[in-house]
Amino acid sequence: MLNKLTLAQTIEGLKNKKFSHRELYADVQKNIEEKNKSLNIYLTLNNQALDQAEKLLNTPLAGAPIAIKDNYCTRDFRTTASAKVLDKFKPQFDATVIKKLKNAGGVMIGKTNMDAWAHGSSTETSDYGRTLNPRNTEHLPGGSSGGSAAAVAADLAITALGTETAGSIRQPAAWCGVVGLKPTYGRVSRYGVAAMASSTDSPGPITKTVEDAAILLNQIAGHDPLDGTSTAQTTPDFTQTLNTPVKGLKIGVIYHDITGAEFANEKLMEQLKVLENLGATVEKTTAMDPHYAIGVYTVVQRGEVSSNLARYDGVRYGNDRSYFSDEAKRRQMLGTYTLSKGYAEKYYELAQKVRTLFIEDLKKLFNTYDVLIAPTSPGFAKKIGVTEGQAMFGELEDMLVEASSVAGLPGLNVPYYRDEKTNLFLGMDIIAPMWREDLVIQVGDAFEKNTAWNSWRTQS
C-alpha cells in the first residue's frame, strides 16, 4: 500500500531504502489498474514511469510518481487539455513547470482528466467523459483539476499538479478532501500550460498534506524568462513555515453570512477554535460581496478564453473547430460579444475596474489581518446530474474563491470536516497577501496537524 504514502514519506522511504521504486510503482500501478477505468482519472498513462524513476533516487523528489493535469504541455507525450480538438497533439516541448519537476526528480505517472480547456468546475465538460469523486462516486470531483484531485484522493498518485484560474485547484481539492495550493499569480510560470484566462492562470500543487504542497511548490516556483508575468523575486523555502506556531496571528473570517453556505460556515467557525486555542485570534469581518466577483470573473475570463482559443483554427492541430464542445463554444461566443466594439467598455473595461475594487478591498483587510479564511465551496461535492442546464453552475460554486483569484492572491484549501454518512469533505480557503504563501502554509499546516481530518497524516 505504498501508494497511500504522502510525498514527504515517499521521498524519505526511497532515500532510506525502506522500499524500492519497483515496489512503490507496483502499488501505484495496481491501484490504477483497479480504479482508473471506473473513476476515469487518467487520460494517458506513462508506461516508462518506473524506468525513469529508478535513475532519480538522488534528486529532491527521488523519482516520486506525480499526476499531471492534461493542460501542461509534456514533450512527446499526448496533451489534450481534455479537448478533442487536441486529441492527437504531442507537444515538442515541456512546460516550464514540467521541466522543473523533471529536473527535481519528479516522474509523470500520467495525464489527468479535466474540464475541457479548464472550462468548468465539475470535470464534466471533458470531451473524454466525467471523472467520479473517489470519496463518493455518486458525486462530482469538482474542477477543472478534478482528475488531479481525484488521483490524489484515490491514491492513484503520490501527489499531483493542477492549475487554477479561479477555483480550479482549491474547489476540486475541497470536494475530494485533499490539499490544494493556488500560488500567487506570477509565482509559478505559465509557459507551456494551455492558456485559459492568462491574467489569472496559476499552476500549483494538489497534495495529500500541506507539507507536500510546500515541498512541491519549492520545486516548481520561480522566475521564468519565458513568462513575462512571472516574478523576478527569489523563491523562499516554503517548508520553512511548517511546524511554526500561529500564536499572535490575526485571522479574519469572510463570507460567513453567504446564503447557501450556512452549514459550511457553522462547521468552519467550530473548527477555527483549534487555531484560537493555538493562540491566534479569529474574528468575523466583512469583505466586498463575492457575487460581484462572479460578474468580474465571468466577463474577464470569457473574453480571454475567446482570444486564447482562437489559435485552434483547424489549420494546425488536425481536428478543426467543429470538435469544440458546447461549453467551449458558449464561452467563445460570450467572450467575443463582451470584447466587441461598443460592448467592451460596458463589460470588459467595467469588469477590470471592479477587479481593481476587489484588489483594494482585500488589501485593506490585510492591513488588519494576516490571513483571511472562508469556506472554499459553499457546500459538499454536488451530486452527478445537478449541473445539467446550469451554464453558470461553476461560477456559483467558485464564487468564494473568485475574489482572491482576480486579485492574484495565494490561497490554500485544507479539509476541515468530513460527513460520516456521505464520506464527503468540506475545505477551508486560507488566503494571504501577494507573495505570502508562507503564511497560508503556516496556518494550514498548523490546522492540519492539530486536527484529525487528514487520514494520510494520521495513518502512519
Partner: protein
C-alpha cells in the same frame, strides 16, 4: 479632365517596416526571414502559437521604435502596452496579432517633404505574420505556411491625411525609408516585403475642410514608383466618378502594374471589429523620463540638423547640403564632413565637389581617405598651363576669324561673348582654366 482643377487630394499612408533586431519580437528565434534557406526553421512554440506559448517583449525593438519616434519629432507615451488584435487568417498563428491599440509608443510626429510637412498620427510596434505560399505538390493545389517571418518585429507608421499627390506620397515614403536606414534599425527591402505601403485615398472639393465620406485603400504596394502611379490613377478615377455626381465605393483596391490600373479587391462597408484588449501575457510599460532620455541620447545627428549645420559652416546652398547629407549610412556623415573641411581649408569649390560626388563624376569609395578624395577632385578639375604667347596668338586668330562677332560685341551685343569663348577653347584644344581665358579675351575685346 484634370482633377486638380476642381478637387483636392486627401491621402494618408500606412507604412510597415520590419526591424532588423537579432531575434524576433516576442521570442528568441532568429529574425532573418529572407536569409533562411528553408521554411519554418526559425520557429518555436511562441511564434507558432502552440498551447502555452507566451510572448516576452523584445526590449531592443521597443527602444528602436521609440528612437524612430524621436527622429520624427513624435511624443512618446510614458505609459504604453501591447494589445491583441483578433482576426482569422491562416498565416496568423494565434488567431490574433499582438499590436498596439490606444497607447502606441509614439504619436504626433512630422516628416518633411519638398511639398510640405506630413504629420504622423502614430508609430506603433507589432509582430509580422507568417507567409502563405500557394503552390502545387504532385499536381495537387496546396497552400503552405512559412512561419520564419511570423513574429518578426514590425513598426507601423501612420500619417494624418496630409498628402496631396502621388509625388508627395513617393517623397514621403523615400524620406521615411531614409530615416529608418539612417537610424540603422531597418533594411526596408521593398521587394522582399521588408517595407510595405498602404495608401488611403479620397478627393474633396477645393476649399472644403471636412474629410470625404469615403476612402479607397490601396494595399500591398511594393515600390514607391507603383505607389505614385497607383495614387495618380486612383485620383483621376475618383474624380471621374465624382463628376457624374456619384460617390466612389469605399473599398480596398490593388495595383496591377502590367495594366497600370487599380482594381477592386474587397468592398469594405464598415470598420472591422478586431476586439482589441490589452494582452494579459505582456505587462504594461511605465517608461521613466531617465530611460527615455537614454534612448534619445542614442540618436545620431539627423539629416536635417546636418543640413542646417553644413549650410552655415561651409557657406553652401541648403539644397546642396541636403543632397550630400541624404546618405542612408549615418557613419558616412562624419567622413563627408572631413572632406568638406579639407575642401574649405584648400579653398576649393565645395558646390562643385558636391555635384561631382552626387553625379558620380569622381569615383570615390565610401570611407576612402579624405585627402585621396580631395586629390581625385583636384585631378578632375586640373587645367593645363597656357603660355602667354600661345594665348596671345590664339586670341588674335579667333578675333580675326570672327570679325562679325567682334563687331557685334563692340556695339553692345554682349551675348556673343559666349560664342567667342567657345571658339577660344576649341582652338586651344586643351583643358585650361576658363577664368584665365575669360579675363584675357575680355581685355582683348575691350581694348
Amino acid at each position: 479632365m484634370k482633377w486638380q482643377e476642381t478637387y483636392e487630394a486627401v491621402i494618408g499612408l500606412e507604412v510597415h517596416a520590419e526591424l532588423k533586431t537579432t531575434s524576433k519580437m516576442f521570442c528568441g528565434c532568429n529574425n532573418d526571414p529572407f536569409g533562411a534557406d528553408k521554411p519554418n526553421i526559425y520557429t518555436c512554440p511562441v511564434c507558432l502559437g502552440m498551447p502555452g506559448g507566451i510572448p516576452v517583449a523584445n526590449k531592443r525593438a521597443i527602444e528602436w521604435t521609440i528612437k524612430l519616434g524621436y527622429a520624427t519629432g513624435c511624443s512618446i507615451n510614458e505609459f504604453s502596452k501591447f494589445d491583441r488584435k483578433h482576426y482569422f487568417y491562416p498565416d496568423l498563428a494565434k488567431g490574433y496579432q499582438i499590436s498596439q491599440y490606444d497607447l502606441p509608443f509614439c504619436y504626433n510626429g512630422i516628416i518633411e517633404t519638398p511639398m510640405g510637412k506630413v504629420r504622423l498620427r502614430r508609430i506603433h510596434l507589432e509582430e509580422d505574420t507568417g507567409k502563405l505560399m500557394h503552390t502545387s505538390i504532385e499536381g495537387k493545389k496546396v497552400s503552405l505556411i512559412d512561419f520564419n517571418r511570423g513574429g518578426v518585429p514590425l513598426v507601423e507608421v501612420v500619417t494624418e491625411p496630409d498628402i496631396k499627390s502621388g509625388t508627395q506620397a513617393k517623397e514621403y515614403g523615400k524620406k521615411l525609408r531614409h530615416i529608418l536606414r539612417f537610424l540603422d534599425i531597418a533594411d526596408c527591402d521593398m521587394e522582399q516585403g521588408g517595407m510595405r505601403l498602404e495608401a488611403n485615398i479620397s478627393l474633396r472639393k477645393k476649399g472644403e475642410t471636412e474629410l470625404p465620406n469615403y476612402k479607397v485603400e490601396i494595399k500591398n504596394i511594393n515600390s514607391f514608383r507603383f505607389m505614385e502611379a497607383a495614387i495618380d490613377y486612383e485620383l483621376t478615377r475618383q474624380a471621374e466618378i465624382l463628376e457624374t455626381g456619384k460617390t466612389p465605393v469605399q473599398e480596398t483596391r490593388g495595383w496591377n502594374s502590367q495594366k497600370n490600373e487599380t482594381f477592386s479587391q474587397r468592398i469594405k462597408e464598415e470598420a472591422e471589429d478586431y476586439r482589441y484588449f490589452p494582452d494579459p501575457d505582456l505587462p504594461p510599460f511605465h517608461f521613466s523620463k531617465e530611460y527615455l532620455a537614454e534612448i534619445k541620447k542614442t540618436l545620431p545627428e539627423l539629416t536635417n540638423e546636418v543640413t542646417t549645420r553644413w549650410t552655415k559652416e561651409f557657406s553652401i546652398q541648403p539644397n546642396k547640403a541636403e543632397e550630400l547629407a541624404m546618405v542612408d549610412d549615418a557613419k558616412l556623415i562624419s567622413w563627408l564632413e572631413k572632406i568638406l573641411n579639407l575642401l574649405k581649408e584648400n579653398k576649393l569649390n565645395i558646390t562643385s565637389f558636391i555635384n561631382d560626388y552626387i553625379n558620380k563624376k569622381i569615383e570615390v569609395k565610401d570611407f576612402e581617405e579624405p585627402s585621396s578624395v580631395i586629390e581625385k577632385f583636384r585631378a578632375a578639375h586640373k587645367t593645363e598651363e597656357v603660355g602667354d604667347e600661345l594665348l596671345a596668338t590664339t586670341i588674335k586668330q579667333v578675333l580675326a576669324e570672327n570679325q562679325d562677332a567682334v563687331q557685334k560685341y563692340q556695339t553692345g551685343q554682349k551675348q556673343v561673348f559666349g560664342f567667342l569663348m567657345g571658339q577660344m577653347l576649341r582652338s586651344l584644344g586643351k583643358k585650361v582654366d576658363p577664368q584665365l581665358i575669360r579675363q584675357t579675351l575680355q581685355a582683348a575685346l575691350e581694348s
